[in-house]
């Protein structure tokens, strides 16, 4: 049986305005959790706050500006969130950027940005969140990584490298701090139909953000440290991780 969700959990959400983050934030709002939204644009945050209020009357306690490209914004955004929420119980990070490998190979500036946002700065944000959660005696940190980090693969050499580093960090964090009450959840979405993947050719097992959100919510409730979503990607990545290198060198996925 599922453990009953704690009512009105206090949630800080970086990335609730779009894609899988939007879907997950709606589920949290419908359940009665209270959110503080972090993001880059005040107007966009206000629009998402309105949407979440329509999904759950008490859903949004506030918003704060936070930009994954500007690590200087992290501490102040989390402090503001802690102020409006009273305390932090769940921190979700679903923001990030993506670009296809061919594009990144011709654009070192974009590559530097992507590596900074998806790896370095995401870790710096998580460190700030970790300190605050531990100081309160624990909580849950749920971060969106990717199946792209599971194996060195041709189409995601750079993006995958950032996500591999992120997944690695999240696993270590879970090992190190779970005993102190900090549960770290690493979400590994496969291909999901969102604005980020619009225009890309969808592989088999492509998923919808709402399905991903339901899986992630269940993992949050249960404290599962690792979630593949859609679920079929766990098996797919199991096979891909087992393939010998000479095969990976030949295939294009």
């Amino acid at each position: 049986m599922n453990p009953q969700p704690v009512a009105s959990r206090k949630v800080v959400f970086l990335g609730a305005t779009r894609g899988m983050g939007r879907a997950l934030a709606r589920l949290l709002a419908e359940r009665g959790e209270v959110l503080c939204l972090l993001g880059r644009h005040a107007e966009d945050l206000a629009r998402s706050a309105a949407d979440l209020q329509a999904h759950g009357a008490q859903a949004v306690a506030g918003t704060a500006l936070c930009d994954l490209e500007q690590p200087a914004t992290f501490a102040s955004a989390l402090d503001e969130a802690a102020r409006v929420l009273g305390r932090l119980e769940l921190v979700v990070v679903s923001a990030g950027i993506f670009a296809p490998q061919e594009v990144l190979e011709h654009d070192p500036a974009l590559t530097a940005r992507l590596l900074a946002v998806d790896f370095t700065n995401t870790l710096l944000f998580c460190e700030e969140a970790r300190k605050r959660l531990l100081a309160q005696g624990g909580g849950t940190l749920c971060v969106f990584s990717s199946v792209a980090g599971d194996r060195g693969r041709k189409p995601v050499a750079l993006y995958g490298a950032a996500k591999a580093g992120l997944s690695h960090y999240l696993e270590s964090l879970d090992h190190k701090y779970r005993a102190q009450g900090l549960r770290t959840i690493c979400v590994k979405p496969g291909f999901v139909h969102t604005g980020m993947t619009a225009g890309l050719k969808a592989p088999p097992f492509a998923g919808e953000p709402e399905d991903v959100a339901r899986r992630v919510l269940r993992a949050i409730d249960r404290g599962e440290p690792l979630v593949y979503a859609p679920g079929a990607w766990r098996a797919v990545m199991g096979v891909i991780r087992a393939l010998p290198r000479h095969v990976m060198r030949r295939v294009d996925f």
């Binding site: 305005t17 779009r18 939007r22 629009r47 309105a50 949407d51 329509a54 999904h55 604005g195 619009a198």
Partner: protein, 443 residues
């Protein structure tokens, strides 16, 4: 290596052209250069397809945020890509419903405005545009503005039913309807032929907010147009179960069926079973709102049953002044032409809305799904000639085959609509495959 396949874009009838959707959560930048914006692509024909010289169409489904909802008044404002299904799921349990609930819930607010959709309550509630208060639009010159029945009203009423050709719809504000419970009380009745049917429909319309019917258009002679009439209303709180209806489980048609799957004998067999399985002749009871309003949504991708060549829906309205015999004349012509329609839906339409190209007018609406065959163009031409003679018109959201001169002959308001469109878009920057076909736009 395989050659890269050219991507194609299609309406619900699966007739496709080269092209693709551009999706984004942010409609303002997305629509800056777009020739056309589409929603969930549920119009059957070419309304949501690009003109031949362009490949890309902006698509709204990711822009689906509710921007405000007033629980006291039912006033809702949302981004244009919010779907009716999402509104139903969120707000039916809170006893608010969309003022218009058409045959599918897989449509967006923007699409509902663009087609000025109607439903089974048209004889009472009118079409969707009547309940829309404001629109936020990007017009052809690039400006973003608000329009309403009192502000840029020419643009507003040309956009309601204007098939997305007067500007890109970014946000929609409308009034929802209060309902006593989220369940439907339904009464249904088997009716032996088309004349009895039309009479039963007219009588039911006096007593019921929602009326609709299915008819068997393959039956002939005495049985011509036999069918099942459905009437419904929202159940009162004391009649309804305490729990809100859960979303219904959906099946999916996994692949394209061969084109003989829907042939005359199979459709005939289906109709026979459907008609006689309605036992007793008259039934009543509580039903799930999805079964009542959106029965075909239970099967995802059902358009695949029409095979590779796809299908078209022919929907027309025959005006009341053409008399009760008009529906019989229509079915006799269809029957003489051997038109085999799997689905034939008949509804009552009330007053014409203010949308300049809005489809409904007082009379009877008939909708048929027709598998595309070599003679489909001739069949549509023949039906259109009858509709013109009866003083009716066709529904652009369904159409793929009507000729420009036929549309002109059935749509006296066209010049007025074209004039507004010219005022807001003199260079015809917004175009679609439909506007090229019917209005002679440059490709």
């Amino acid at each position: 290596m395989r050659a890269a396949q050219e991507s194609r874009i299609a309406g619900w009838g699966r007739l496709s052209v080269p092209g693709r959707e551009l999706l984004s959560e942010a409609l303002e930048p997305l629509t800056e250069q777009a020739v056309l914006t589409r929603g969930l692509g549920r119009s059957y024909g070419d309304a949501s397809l690009p003109p031949p010289s362009r490949r890309e169409v902006a698509a709204t489904p990711l822009a689906d945020r509710i921007l405000s909802f007033d629980e006291a008044t039912g006033r809702l404002r949302a981004e244009a890509g919010l779907s009716l299904g999402a509104i139903n799921q969120l707000l039916l349990p809170r006893r608010w419903c969309s003022p218009t609930l058409p045959g599918t819930q897989f449509i967006t607010l923007g699409g509902m405005v663009a087609a000025d959709v109607h439903d089974k309550s048209h004889h009472r509630a009118g079409s969707f545009g009547r309940h829309v208060q404001r629109l936020r639009m990007r017009v052809a010159d690039g400006r973003i503005l608000e329009c309403s029945p009192t502000e840029h009203e020419d643009l507003f009423w040309a956009t309601v039913g204007g098939m997305g050709l007067t500007g890109h719809i970014l946000e929609v504000e409308l009034s929802l309807q209060r309902i006593p419970s989220p369940w439907i009380w339904q009464e249904s009745e088997r009716v032996p032929n088309i004349d009895a049917y039309v009479e039963a429909l007219e009588q039911a319309a006096q007593r019921w907010p929602y009326t609709v019917g299915w008819i068997d258009c393959l039956s002939r002679g005495r049985n011509l147009g036999r069918g099942v009439l459905l009437c419904g209303r929202w159940a009162e709180a004391h009649e309804a179960p305490p729990a809100a209806p859960a979303p219904k489980h959906k099946l999916t048609v996994p692949f394209e069926l061969p084109s003989w799957a829907l042939s005359r004998p199979t459709v005939q067999a289906f109709n026979e079973v459907y008609y006689w399985s309605h036992q007793p002749r008259r039934k009543q009871g509580l039903v799930h709102p999805e079964s009542f309003f959106h029965p075909l949504d239970a099967v995802l991708r059902w358009n695949r049953i029409y095979g590779r060549r796809g299908f078209t829906q022919y929907q027309c309205v025959l005006p009341r002044r053409a008399g009760r015999g008009a529906a019989r004349r229509f079915l006799e012509l269809l029957s003489a032409r051997g038109g085999a329609s799997f689905l034939c839906v008949i509804k009552d339409c009330g007053e014409q809305g203010q949308g300049l190209l809005s489809f409904p007018m007082p009379g009877i609406s008939i909708a048929l799904d027709i598998a595309v065959r070599d003679d489909t163009q001739q069949l549509v031409d023949t039906l259109n000639e009858l509709v013109i003679a009866e003083g009716g018109r066709i529904y652009l959201a369904k159409d793929a085959f009507t000729r420009a001169d036929h549309f002109r002959a059935m749509e006296r308001r066209l010049e007025a609509w074209l004039a507004v469109r010219r005022r807001w878009d003199p260079e015809l920057r917004l175009r679609s495959a439909l506007s090229v076909r019917l209005f002679g736009d440059p490709p």
